[in-house]
Amino acid sequence: MQLLLARIIDGLSNGATYAAIALALVLIFKATTLINFAQGSLAMLGGFVVYVLAAEQGIPIWIALLIAMLLSGVFAAGVERTLIRPFDPADHLPLVIITLGLLLGIDSIAGVIWRNDPRAFPSLFPEGNVFAWGTTTLRWYDLGVLVSVLVMVFLLEVLLNKTKVGLAFRAVSSNLESSRLVGIKVGQTLMFGWALAAAVGTLAATLYISSPIRQIEPTFMLRVLIFSTAAAALGGLDSIRGALIGGLLMGLIQAFFGYLSGWSKDWAWLPDIGNELNLATAFVVLLGVLLVRPAGLFGTKAIERV
């Protein structure tokens, strides 16, 4: 029981970061029906900026985080302007390959700059536990991640629903051509969407990596990206609420698999599905969603005229 509870807490705090990256994916998907495979790498870059500012330059970490979110937003807006906008948004093929290339490119640049050795990351939250009950502990980190992601989702909802730029973004998401006709600057709005997504990603990466048991290295976001794509599909690729719930669910499913694999050691005939196949839970979830409910839990069902 205690172990299960510990797993659930673990799952929720992992799930919150998956939710944040899923949210970044959803923001871009809503606007352009493109899945930005480089989202994880952009977030990783943001995480490293936080690392450089906080650990190497000694800036307080929360201020470093804000600066990094701003910088990564500017960078992503530049990427959108130079690499994405020249191509036809309806033709997925070049865009998918460009985002994949971006993923590999950013990863390899980070590999050149920071090498592939893991480094300790300064923590965002106080150390220690909020409470402990036997092996079940709720760390300040877990609580902090959950609260931060919830606050972020709240702010995002406010931004999208109560501000003018949010209104423009929703208009572009709903119909690109019509919003151009009513005078919305579509290009700038999409750039804003990319910047917003990258800032959200940087926050997610920083939250994820500031866990006391993790260290920062150039490929750490690939795992998160895999879980987050599954989470986004689970919640519905075009729903912000879906991304949040999908992310948390994905974290719980992963934790539950981990819990089960503790049992599977007792059955010799079962292969050890422990840590190694952790990533495969994302694959199973993804296939399950596609088989049972392709639009996801909260997504809009695609209705086609044939």
């Binding site: 029906t33 493109l34 899945i35 495979f37 690499l83 020249p86 191509f87 997925h92 093929l93 070049p94 998918v96 390959i97 460009i98 994949l100 290339g101 993923l103 590999l104 490119g105 390899s108 640049i109 590999g111 050149v112 690939l222 895999i226 794509t229 599954a230 599909a233 292969p271 050890d272 190694e276 196949l277 952790n278 990533l279 495969a280 994302a282 694959f283 993804l286 296939l287 596609l290 088989l291 392709p294 695609a302 086609e304 044939v306």
Partner: protein, 394 residues
């Protein structure tokens, strides 16, 4: 009228075609008798040697097979898959394990590789292809990223049990080492062929006479096998595309709604081509296993691999098999040669700096990362200025 001006379909045209076919066949057959493992040449202007060995030529041929598989999918049906490295890896490991642990011959392993890739392709394709949009890309991306972890599974790493302290199976992080030579069959007169090429007047000496000696018969046989596989796959891909099914593929790609209105089953065709492409990629993987020497989940980077096949198809021209294969050879050559050029370039840039400075060491070390950058630049340039590739679809 110039000498090269011939009417299509005339007897002259057929003569020209026949002669070029003969020349192509001669060159294709002569290659293994010409190149050895480290054949070098030094082009003017660029400092440094380019090395082309048999290993690289054979690798390029394996890539070409993978390209044919992927081109069926993206070129002729417009589906986006990022997971073909999964099938390449599956083929590679199946062949590797069967050859090392069970002593199967290379061709026999293909009888296992093809059906298993068919089956896996179906398991992945059925859920993903029912839904339009980027879902196939999503599923296959996840699939290719988890491939190395599947290989490292304890169950698979030693499922053949222990054989005198040596585990059979995928061997986890240690990787496979396939060094079984390809013993040529007795009916193949490799010596005779060698004699033939060396006996050609004037140029006979370049086919390994003198101090270089003759080329290894195992390598020659391996090359001939790879050539045969490549030709069969090419013929297969061509026939699929030219058939009724192939026309349906293109109709669906160009306008899904109208194709389905004409009674074409879109999902079934997509699934068909996905499975076929998976099996072809499995064969490519089987060919790659016998080359790299070492197959480790650490060195096998699925995404990078996928990206490279994609660039090859796009640069060559998606929807055109000849173009795609040529693009494959071109990109593979660049991929291999960019590193020496990068080292030379970095050497030039850093030559003014003082020895031992941190920046100089850093720049020199980063030359190894030039490859991906170069590929990205090429991709962007092709997308921008020639989106249909070097040899566009006819």
């Amino acid at each position: 009228m110039s000498l090269l001006d011939v009417t299509q379909g005339s007897s002259q045209h057929r003569t020209v075609q026949g002669i070029s076919l003969l020349v192509a066949a001669f060159i294709a057959l002569a290659i293994p008798f010409f190149f050895d493992e480290t054949w070098k040449f030094s082009p003017p202007l660029i400092v440094g040697d380019f090395t082309i060995g048999m290993n690289q030529i054979l690798t390029a041929m394996a890539w070409a097979v993978a390209i044919l598989g992927l081109n069926l999918l993206i070129g002729f049906t417009g589906q986006i898959s990022l997971g073909h490295s999964f099938f390449v890896g599956t083929g590679a490991y199946t062949t590797g394990v069967l050859m090392i642990d069970y002593g199967w011959s290379f061709l026999a392993t293909l009888l296992v590789v093809v059906p298993s890739c068919f089956l896996l392709g179906m398991i992945v394709g059925v859920p993903a292809l029912r839904i339009k949009g980027l879902y196939l890309a999503l599923v296959t991306l996840v699939l290719s990223v988890i491939f190395p972890t599947i290989v490292r599974l304890d169950g698979l790493a030693s499922w053949g049990g222990d054989d005198g302290g040596v585990a059979k199976g995928t061997r986890g992080s240690n990787g496979l080492n396939v060094d079984t030579p390809f013993d040529p069959p007795s009916w193949l007169p490799i010596d005779g062929m060698s004699d033939f090429f060396q006996g050609i007047p004037l140029i006979g000496s370049i086919f390994g006479e003198g101090e270089l000696g003759r080329r290894a018969p195992e390598r020659i046989w391996q090359y001939l096998l790879a050539l045969a596989i490549l030709l069969v796959m090419f013929w297969l891909a061509r026939n699929v595309v030219k058939s009724r099914v192939g026309r349906a593929f293109i109709a669906i790609r160009d306008n899904e709604t109208s194709a389905s209105a004409m009674g074409k089953n879109v999902t079934a065709r997509h699934l068909q081509v996905f499975i076929l492409g998976s099996a072809i990629c499995g064969i490519a993987g089987a060919m790659l296993t016998t080359l790299d020497g070492q197959l480790t989940p650490g060195s096998y980077q699925p995404l990078r691999f996928t990206f490279l096949i994609w660039i090859m198809v796009i640069v060559g021209g998606s929807g055109n098999n000849i173009g795609a294969v040529l693009g494959g050879f071109l990109i593979w050559f660049l991929w291999v040669q960019v590193e020496p050029i990068g080292h030379w370039l970095m050497g030039l840039i850093t030559s003014g700096m003082t020895d031992g400075s941190a920046l100089k060491a850093h720049l020199l070390a980063s030359a190894a990362h030039m490859r991906l950058m170069t590929m990205g630049m090429i991709l962007l340039l092709v997308f921008r200025f020639s989106p249909r590739g070097l040899v566009p679809e006819r």
